[in-house]
Amino acid sequence: MKLLHSGKVRDVYADGADVILVASDRVSVYDVVLPTPIPDKGKILTQLSLWWFGLLSDVCPNHVISADDVPPEWSGRAIRCQRLEMLQVECIARGYLAGLGLAEYRSHGSVSGVPLPGGLAEGSQLPAPIFTPTTKATVGHDEFITFADVAADVGAEVGGQLREITLEIYRRGAALAARRGIIIADTKLEFGRGADGTLVLGDELLTSDSSRFWPADGWQPGRTQYALDKQFVRDWSSGLDWDRTPPGPPIPDQIVEATRARYVTVYEQLTGLSWPEEA
């Protein structure tokens, strides 16, 4: 098995024709990976992603081959996946204003060419979810592009499919989460083509590393929203004499435990399943 890449929080291995995505327990805050892992974070996010892949498999086929056929040392935190010819579009759905969507709205009153009503604030819910793709250029940086750009890149038909699938997955995921007290403010999806040319959903799905999760009962437009899982780490680190550049500070035990508990809670709240503590 060959290590292809070690990312901030996930590692990618090649195993023959397949790739294996391994989610670590590393956690990042303010864009910096901290030296202290959060036990089980990788397993929890992997299991959550698998749960969503299963639930939403009627919307689009996905790249999951097996969560069991992986080396035992990665059991629970790894997924064996198909190799896909990846489309160079990050497909983002936004239902609320945050992050780059908020910044672009403040600059232009629109996001990815989608006009939005005036008077929206940080954290505001949008009138309807919008598709805000970015391109994955190897030069420069990933940039917002319009739907017309996507259509030029991948063709109008495929572009339309990407938009519809992205928004459908977001709508269904966000609706389910809302019933369970969690706002999914936005999410990023990746698509590729299988060997037969079929559009296939790749990467991870509706985890807190690919989406913003906010507690519904604490939602208040006009301010920065609380991150449902790693807010303990953010709050703790914001009180430190740390300039938010690497290396990050070690996380105290009580913050580690509280953060782990929050990841478990989010998993259980969304899935309705109990997290097996021996996992």
Partner: protein, 80 residues
């Protein structure tokens, strides 16, 4: 299905242009990058080839960092 990475095509065209004595895009701007990427994808489609990233590069880029980190960083950098 024939696939080819538009980013790779851009690199190859830049090299070709240099060989012909040109100095293509000495300074990349976001607008130029987006234009070049879109143009390369359209050229490939026009030639009957599906524009897609190399499978390894595609999955590596996707798994490189949490998207939420990237989105916050882009917002903080004011690159819109």
């Amino acid at each position: 299905m024939q696939c080819y990475d538009p980013n790779r095509l851009i690199d190859e065209v830049r090299e070709l242009l240099r060989e012909r004595g040109l100095d293509p895009a000495g300074s990349w701007t976001p607008e130029r990058a987006t234009l070049a990427t879109g143009g390369a994808a359209m050229l490939l489609r026009g030639l009957g080839v599906t524009p897609a990233m190399d499978p390894v590069e595609g999955v590596v880029r996707a798994a490189a960092e949490p998207w939420t980190d990237a989105d916050d960083r882009r917002a903080a950098s004011g690159r819109v």
